[in-house]
Symmetry: C2
Subunit: 171 residues, 2 copies
């Protein structure tokens, strides 16, 4: 039961990207600098988010990443699943069948009760994660966090975002 470090980075990046204007993008290198990470490595996770349809990538100069949809339609579950993969945390190896007593296969049509219980709890986890919207994260940060921190984040976003001329119809 351990999430990879990339999850934290991915969420922070998504939250940062939620602060830039509509069509503007921010290079992965800037995001990496923002959090003191290796740019080359952070790209790996940004690519995962892009593949999952959470981010969009724009190549070339003045390119970068931006959110693919509104922050209130992005949940922490989406990000976690994109980085960690969709498979559940509990993997049932069906070890109940590995005993020395070999029962016919049709004795195991009923699913393993332990698996059912574990997945039921995991559904609760995912439901709770799905309730945590990226927009709420950002809103709470803007209102509750230390003003200096907010100002620094906004300044950084302002400085590194690159407005897209083609896609953004003038702001």
């Amino acid at each position: 039961m351990k999430l990879s470090e990339g999850v934290e980075a991915a969420i922070h990046c998504a939250a940062t990207l939620a602060g830039v204007e509509g069509g503007a993008t921010m290079p992965g290198a800037a995001l990496a600098e923002q959090f003191g990470l290796s740019g080359s490595y952070l790209l790996k996770h940004l690519q995962a988010l892009t593949a999952a349809g959470i981010l969009e990538s724009v190549p070339g100069p003045a390119g970068g990443y931006r959110l693919a949809r509104a922050p209130d339609r992005i949940s922490l579950l989406d990000i976690v699943l994109a980085v960690e993969g969709p498979q559940p945390a509990f993997r049932c190896g069906e070890i109940r069948r590995n005993g020395p007593v070999k029962l016919p296969t049709d004795a195991y049509v009923k699913p393993c009760g332990i698996k059912v219980a574990m997945l039921r709890a995991e559904r609760a986890y995912r439901a709770a994660l799905a309730e945590e919207k990226l927009s709420d994260i950002v809103a709470d940060f803007m209102s509750d966090a230390d003003p200096r921190s907010v100002a620094a984040a906004c300044a950084f976003a302002e400085r590194h975002q690159r407005p897209q001329k083609s896609s953004s119809p003038k702001q």
Copy 2:
């Protein structure tokens, strides 16, 4: 987000031990055979359960493991935490502080909103796991599972449990 394989084995072992009489024990080697696992390896997890106070170990011949308390007072959360460790799945590395802009430490007294959100979801997960009692797992297995599977499990338990003469006051 991936639980170790040992969790599945630990839960199965605990469920099996819930089926033996009060003071009786079952050797770890028997449990390993029951699930086709390496005995030496399974001990590692059984030791973790023992250290967490979920199981009791009896050394010497006729020794083995048994539940340390009633199955209705053992939840899947207890077992998962014993095997995986108590630390939460989401580890906040405070990467928000790693940026090039160095703010004073007192700008970060408020906890990271992302951490708060992640841990809130994780609390839901743990609460759901805490609701899954080992007694329910066993009861569901006894009533719902295939009769042949139940019979095999009972026969195995009957064959391998070793009644403790000292602690069990004659059954």
